[in-house]
């Protein structure tokens, strides 16, 4: 229904433009399968993903206007059935020193490689863990984006009338940590208001510098039982959040350095004493990327999270709940080797949390059979403590295949 009305709006917006627009049609068909290598899913299936998908992309340009629609028709064989969706659908208007984009769009902020400091926009974590192509890591937001480009800097304002959450892995397919598994009476409350973000960026002495402001909500839900002693119901909700951040990137020695920091202001629990709401945090990221030899690149990241009201957090945490450390340190590595005239790509991404041992490893081999057909084979390995971000998925290790024909 949403897809249909969005498509209708899109066509209606397109009409005045259609007369003199240049139209381009492209897309792909794809098969994507991921199978478990360690254990079956909680629902008993042995596959994390099995679907066929076709994407149609329509791109129309006329003068200062442009319209784009990217729609997927998809069928899931693991019980979800029709998974068709409007991935993106927007209209652009570009003037001399400002522009705007209205509609469903993917927005990515910040510099991290699978580490998110200032990228406050919704993601699809399930897509990442189930071996789907990288573009499915991001979910579009329905928003108005205004860009202003005066001489002294560039500005991007994003206003969403409605909140869109990140997609977390499905508990039928992944073993998510659940402190109260017996409690099945559950509800989810989504914020009934939108969010707003502002990014300002410019060159500072050869470095790309940016400031980020966000006022909205956590994209992943928190859980609150209706009673701490004898709960009968769990409510999932998205706590209020503001983020104030900055980033800097530029050349350093032979490579590129990326620095990013953000303060996560947990507005719903500034004292840090509500166990159901994440504590306020500082997030820090330092990354370095180099290309030591032809067609081989290496990327390193150090990422840290600091909890602000740690004493209040410790005091508020219910007995039996896992205790996070005050500081969380994570190291990541990405190595990419291109071969055979860049038609074969071998890559490895590894993330290791030195504070709790949590880890995630994703090797992948991708080959372009022709200019139109490529395939990828890869694996997702998770490990450590059953309540860690990746540790809870330690029995969800999987191998995946992606094959795509593009037109």
């Amino acid at each position: 229904m949403l897809l249909r009305s969005a498509a209708f709006c899109f066509i209606a917006m397109l009409a005045p433009l259609a007369a003199r627009a240049e139209l381009a049609l492209s897309g792909f068909v794809q098969q994507n399968t991921a199978f478990n290598t360690v254990a079956a899913n909680p629902d008993g299936r042995r596959y994390k993903w099995m679907e066929e998908r076709a994407q149609i992309k329509l791109d129309a340009t006329g003068g200062a206007w442009r319209a784009l629609a990217k729609g997927d028709l998809a069928y899931d064989h693991l019980g979800r059935g029709n998974e068709s969706e409007l991935r993106e659908g927007y209209v652009d208007y570009a003037a001399g020193n400002w522009d705007m984009r209205v509609g469903r769009q993917v927005i990515t902020w910040g510099l991290g490689d699978l580490v998110f400091v200032n990228d406050v926009f919704p993601k699809d974590h399930e897509a990442l863990f189930a071996g789907r192509p990288m573009e499915y890591l991001k979910r579009g937001v329905d928003a108005l984006k205004l860009g202003a480009y005066p001489a002294f800097g560039s500005f991007e304002l994003v206003v969403s009338p409605g909140f869109r959450e990140s997609r977390i892995p499905d508990a039928q397919r992944f073993r998510l940590y659940d402190p109260m598994p017996a409690l099945t009476n559950r509800e989810t409350l989504k914020p009934n208001q939108g969010d707003v973000g502002l990014r300002a960026y410019r060159d500072v002495a050869g470095y790309d510098a940016a400031l980020y402001l966000y006022r909205g909500f956590q994209r992943t839900p928190s859980m609150r039982p209706d009673s701490r002693t004898a709960p009968t119901k769990i409510t999932f909700f998205y706590p209020e959040l503001s983020v104030y951040g900055a980033s800097l990137s530029g050349r350093a020695g032979e490579g590129v350095v990326s620095l990013e920091a953000a303060y996560y202001d947990s507005r719903q629990d500034r004292a840090g004493s509500d166990f159901a709401v994440p504590n306020s945090q500082t997030r820090l990221l330092a990354g370095y990327q180099i290309q030591p030899v032809e067609d081989f690149s290496l990327g390193f990241q150090y990422y840290a999270e600091l909890m602000h009201d740690y004493a209040a957090y410790l005091a508020a945490q219910p007995a039996g709940f896992p205790i996070d450390k005050r500081w969380n340190h994570t190291l990541t590595l990405r190595a990419t080797q291109m071969l055979m005239h860049q038609t074969l790509r071998l890559s490895l991404y590894a993330s290791y949390n030195t504070s709790n041992g949590d880890h995630f490893i994703n090797p992948e081999l991708r080959y372009s059979f022709t200019d139109r057909v490529w395939g990828a084979i890869g694996a997702n390995f998770f490990g450590d403590k059953p309540w860690g971000q990746f540790g809870q998925l330690s029995r969800d290790d999987n191998m995946y295949l992606q094959v795509r024909y593009e037109f």
Partner: protein, 262 residues
């Protein structure tokens, strides 16, 4: 038109009189090959052909703007049409003669602009037989240049310049460039690997005069050791279009203006 030719001839006179050094010849060659016009636009059609004749196509629009005189800073903007998995990708280079370039890549799949490390000069350009240096130039000061002899390529009189890298970072051991004595375009280049074996062969297969600038609109780079070659054709090539400096920015990397990339 005639007057221009006169000027051209007069300008050349003192150069013909003085013996040209290898370095001067390569400087002039770089100016003629990589710096003509204030700015430049072309659609690049690349065919990557393996020794069995199988082809892959890379198609992009390339824009260039000079900051000042030949040999100075340049900005490049590239927008990819083919193959399908890189369609809508765009790529920007700020090129500085004396230090490493700054490079940015826009990845449409996740709508992200990334700065990428660029110190490796040997890297292949989009998987072709051309390296980044072959596309946007190699610093003249990185090699010693000597005019070895004079020779014809077809019916064109050329200087044959031998260039030997001063350091060890080059893709080749040494190379010979056949520089057209009249317009200073490199018409042919032979690269030798570090063991002295013939390695790569460049040829300017067709030169067209566009707005008064002789431009190699067809060129080939062949790897003699693997038999793989890359054929490049420039179409819709033009100079001095008044490309604004603002084009070379994150804004347009994310949303390339149609009028420049078509």
């Amino acid at each position: 038109m005639k007057r221009w030719w006169m000027l051209f001839a007069v300008a050349l006179l003192p150069l013909q009189a003085l013996a040209l050094s290898g370095e001067e010849a390569m400087k002039k060659s770089q100016a003629a090959f990589l710096y003509p016009g204030k700015d430049f636009k072309t659609r690049v059609m690349m065919k990557l052909i393996n020794k069995d004749g199988q082809e892959r196509v890379r198609e992009l629009t390339m824009l260039r703007k000079n900051a000042g005189e030949p040999g100075g800073d340049q900005k490049y903007f590239m927008y990819f049409f083919q193959p399908a998995d890189v369609k809508d990708m765009s790529f920007m280079i700020y090129k500085y003669p004396a230090k490493d370039d700054d490079r940015w890549l826009f990845i449409p799949a996740i709508n992200m602009v990334k700065r990428i490390a660029a110190q490796d000069k040997r890297s292949s350009f989009v998987g072709s037989d051309f390296t980044y240096e072959d596309v946007s130039g190699r610093d003249i000061e990185d090699d010693n240049h000597v005019i070895e002899r004079e020779e014809k390529v077809g019916n064109r009189d050329c200087y044959v310049v031998k260039s030997t890298p001063k350091g060890t970072d080059a893709d080749f051991g040494h190379k010979f460039t056949w520089v057209d004595k009249a317009n200073f375009l490199p018409l042919k280049e032979e690269q030798y690997d570090k063991r002295g074996n013939r390695y790569k062969l460049f040829s300017a297969d067709e030169v067209a005069n566009i707005k008064g600038f002789p431009t190699p609109v067809k060129r080939t780079m062949k790897n003699l050791q693997t038999g793989h070659r890359t054929e490049v054709t420039y179409v819709k090539t033009d100079y001095d279009l008044g490309i604004e400096d603002s084009l070379f920015s994150e804004r347009y990397l994310r949303q390339p203006p149609r009028k420049w990339v078509d």
